[in-house]
Symmetry: C2
Subunit: 308 residues, 2 copies
């Protein structure tokens, strides 16, 4: 029996087709809950709550189970799995969505079992904010709630989104989403503004530029791990959040020092994620590799004091 603390992860499980400068991969395992769960699995027991179709290969479920993921919350339904197609441009900072077929995901209504509702840690990946609220309503006093969102909901569901924010502890969002939500251009002011909506910790993800974290009125600047070669950025943000939530669950606290370590582990898991198509690089990742890269990043950011 797995005695690791559980982290409920509510979001999409998908079959993606990705074009990037280095090649193309068709119908590969994707979805926010997938990336978050695999990254989380190094620190805690992820319990993804999601829906897949009849076409979803059993080997993907087996892959997750092999990483210690509790797969009992993955519902298989009649129809096809959520499918997403995208193309990354040369600099990876921009992508074009070529096709989105919601399929069974269109009717996704997360229903928690009693055991699931008692989890202490919850990550609400990017889904409709009213579904995020319905999950929050089912939970019985979670200790740490993280949530992600996207520009679509910022534009179309601002009021519902604010309700979600007011009930979460950690808000994950991209820098472009932060500036869409806030008056302030500067991330420092944007993060302060966002924290007033409820979340005690605001994590602004900046892709290859790292993350800006605001917690207890303190700023923490986490660089991205500098890679030799990026293959496919899909899932980096979800892996970041999954790892961070997993480490916080493992440590059982949300002290500033723990949050900083969790953020760096998020950055490290994101760095591995983008080194392969889909979940390729996470498949065979070892804890020792995570530790090694963590140490490298510590070395790359250290500097001594000055006297003038």
């Amino acid at each position: 029996m797995n005695t690791k603390p559980r982290v409920l992860i509510v979001g999409s499980m998908a079959l993606d087709t990705i074009e990037a400068p280095g090649g193309k991969a068709s119908n590969i395992l994707g979805g926010a809950a997938t990336f978050a769960s695999l990254a989380c699995s190094f620190f805690a027991q992820p319990v993804p709550i999601c829906v897949v179709g009849e076409d979803f290969p059993q080997e993907h479920i087996d892959l997750l189970a092999g990483h210690g993921v509790d797969t009992s919350g993955i519902q298989r339904q009649e129809g096809k799995t959520f499918h997403w197609e995208a193309r990354y441009l040369d600099d990876f900072d921009e992508r074009e969505t070529l096709d989105t077929q919601c399929n069974v995901f269109a009717d996704f209504r997360p229903l928690l079992t009693q055991e699931q509702s008692e989890a202490h840690h919850l990550f609400l990946a990017n889904i409709h904010p009213s579904l995020q609220l319905s999950v929050l309503d089912q939970m019985r006093g979670p200790k740490i709630v993280g949530c992600d969102t996207m520009n679509l909901w910022i534009d179309t569901e601002p009021a519902t989104l604010r309700q979600v924010f007011s009930r979460c502890d950690i808000l994950f969002l991209n820098d472009s989403e932060a500036t869409l939500l806030c008056q302030a251009r500067e991330l420092r002011r944007a993060a302060e503004e966002l924290s007033r909506l409820g979340p005690r910790c605001v994590v602004i993800k900046k892709g290859s530029h790292g993350a800006f974290v605001y917690y207890q009125r303190q700023v923490f600047l986490a660089p991205a791990y500098p890679l030799q070669k990026v293959i496919d950025p899909t899932g980096a943000g979800d892996a970041f959040a999954g790892a961070m939530m997993g480490y916080l669950a493992r440590e059982g606290n949300i002290e500033p020092e723990t949050v900083r370590k969790a953020v760096i582990l998020g950055t490290i898991l994101a760095s591995f994620t983008v080194e392969g198509f889909g979940v390729d690089a996470l498949r065979s990742l070892k804890t020792e590799e995570i530790i090694a890269r963590y140490g490298e990043l510590a070395e790359m950011t250290t500097f001594g004091r000055v006297t003038l």
Copy 2:
């Protein structure tokens, strides 16, 4: 008599007109050598080598002299001072050059006195690479040479530029310039590629995202200091380079630990620079404020070890 080590700074001194979201400032003191000299003055004695016209106000020379700058290399010539007009867009990451009038700067031919040519530290700000070469030819064994450039010379003078790079120790450039010069998209590979052209230290400036430094096969990631309010980004890169060169001159070595501290001081001076139009924020800057911000940045980037 000033006994600080001297840093020769060859570049433009200008009168700028800047439009930014927060306002407009006309005919204010600008130019790469100006920003670099003021930033450098906190650590060493800057000796700007540049040319100004008859319209250049004496109060600007006095301001520099008041900061300990050796103004003897500022030649005043018949005609008007180099004038540059630019407009920053809302996100500050893009700017439009509205007007460039080279005026006396068009015929700028830096000629060093014997004393100047014996300086141990040289910063070649962005000027035509053939002028950068002519300065290098006049120097008598400088210990540390830093150089900056711009996309124009990368496009039009690639061969001359490579000669400059082969003779400098520290290369400063923007991320967009790095990717213009290199095959590699990833900064880590771009920096390796650039270091093979000669410079032992490659500093890739990323604006509000900080700097990526490659030195002795090691990566150093320097975040930008997170500001509440950016006013005018003009001169940030020059202040960065001036401060870095100044601190290296002050310490008299180019050990990795010294380089890291110099980079962070560069980042700090750049952060102050952008908080006002032109040199406004540098005018009254105190060493204590630099030290305080340095300490804050150290605090914002620290994280502990993990065991998994």
